[in-house]
């Protein structure tokens, strides 16, 4: 049974998306608690959703041009599932990140813990996006094309780098 014939998460999709919104707020809250500055709580979700909104259309255009794109509705659904996966992963990693950050003495540990949490959740979200797009592709049984895979890889690296840079600049500015 392909991923597409099952509900994507053991929780409702709405809850998963809500976690994707609340998760970055909570991670920003860890930074805020450390730095006594509430701005990361607003900036973190803005980075997540802003970067996805800015780079998402580019992925669809590029994969369509490579001849491997699922229908637009399926791509939007895949992004929704990926965001939900990101939120779920953040929900599970939040407690350890909070403990490691708040029990640390130096700012470097806080930076590492929060950045690592967001990075791992982001990686899982991207991985889930790849799985969903593959499942939704026009011919899922056929080996995906090299061009399509390359397009996704380049897009993923670029998106992760943009989001990562924005996050790092925010975190360093707030914590140092």
């Amino acid at each position: 049974m392909s991923v597409a014939t099952q509900a994507p998460f053991p929780v409702s999709r709405g809850l998963a998306i809500a976690l994707a919104a609340a998760g970055p707020v909570a991670v920003g809250g860890i930074l805020a608690a450390r730095a006594h500055d509430a701005s990361p709580m607003l900036a973190a979700p803005a980075i997540v959703f802003g970067v996805v909104a800015a780079t998402g259309p580019a992925l669809y255009i590029a994969t369509a041009a490579a001849g491997n794109a699922p229908p637009l509705a399926a791509v939007i659904r895949a992004f929704g599932v990926a965001l939900g996966a990101f939120g779920l992963a953040l929900a599970g990693l939040l407690l350890p990140a909070a403990f490691l950050s708040l029990s640390a003495v130096s700012a470097a540990t806080t930076l590492t813990a929060t950045t690592g949490t967001v990075a791992i959740a982001g990686y899982l979200g991207l991985r889930r996006l790849a799985t969903e797009l593959k499942a939704q592709s026009p011919d899922p049984g056929i080996q995906p094309s090299l061009a399509g895979g390359l397009v996704f890889l380049v897009w993923a690296v670029a998106t992760a780098a943009i989001a990562g840079r924005l996050w790092w600049d925010l975190a360093v500015e707030v914590v140092s």
């Binding site: 929780v11 990101f86 350890p96 490691l100 640390a104 003495v105 540990t109 799985t131």
Partner: protein, 246 residues
């Protein structure tokens, strides 16, 4: 069908000791119970109580190396370390798996992790005679530390194996990544919590035992500090004078 209804009924959920015995003798059956979702709350309570008692015994054994009040200190702290680490880390298994498409219930995963940790803790209790032996032959402090690390490694490996077995049974997508993620999170959180609540095995010639050391730094701060020192970057003129070696 009606005759089948009248045959010997399925046994009622076993009391706590029988559940622990099942964990030791037949882990496949325990995994099957957890997968079925039967009595998860009762399993959870039993496993938590098992961890609390067994780690207290192990802590007392470690504290006996120094003796005196250190026995009580270590007996109180070790259960906090393992239960605290489990509480903070266990949800990561479900969360990472769910993100990758693994369909499981959080309650079953938590029960699985606690059952596995309880199994590891029981193995550690089985190792306490070795700790007592080390004390009785006056094994030196550093060898004792290495021996304890080896015991914890064996027990931890057994617990991890049980988790892998329980999760692999579903053959769900992303289970390996979920287990790997749990290991990483558990190691980081457990390392930090254990560091914060040290000492446990205090050398006999150490000064007056204390419940916890003054928190000058976290584990990771200490590691990064050591890495900086190794590169010749120092933040103070001299290290504080340590206690005399054994």
């Amino acid at each position: 069908m009606i005759a089948a209804m009248e045959t010997t009924p399925a046994p009622a959920p076993r009391p706590a000791l029988a559940m622990i015995d099942l964990l030791l003798r037949d882990r496949e059956a325990m995994l099957a119970r957890i997968r079925r979702g039967a009595d998860l709350a009762a399993i959870m309570r039993t496993m938590i109580a098992t961890i609390a008692v067994t780690m207290a015994i192990v802590g007392a054994a470690l504290g006996s190396y120094r003796g005196g009040v250190q026995i009580a200190y270590a007996a109180a702290k070790l259960p906090l370390v393992l239960l605290g680490t489990a509480a903070l880390s266990a949800p990561a298994l479900s969360a990472i798996g769910a993100a990758l498409g693994r369909r499981s219930r959080l309650t079953a995963d938590l029960a699985l992790v606690m059952a596995a940790l309880a199994f590891g803790a029981l193995l550690l209790v089985a190792c306490t005679p070795l700790i007592m032996l080390g004390r009785s032959v006056d094994l030196d402090y550093h060898r004792m530390i290495l021996a304890v690390v080896a015991m914890f490694a064996v027990s931890g490996g057994a617990a991890l194996r049980m988790i892998c077995r329980g999760v692999a049974l579903e053959a769900a997508p992303g289970w390996r990544t979920a287990v790997a993620g749990l290991c990483v999170v558990f190691s980081l959180v457990g390392g930090q919590l254990a560091w914060a609540l040290r000492p446990y095995l205090l050398r006999p010639r150490a000064p007056e035992p204390m419940f916890v050391r003054d928190a000058r730094d976290s584990l990771f701060d200490s590691i990064t500090g050591s890495m900086r020192s190794a590169r010749g970057i120092y933040v103070r003129d001299a290290a504080p004078l340590g206690e005399r070696g054994p």
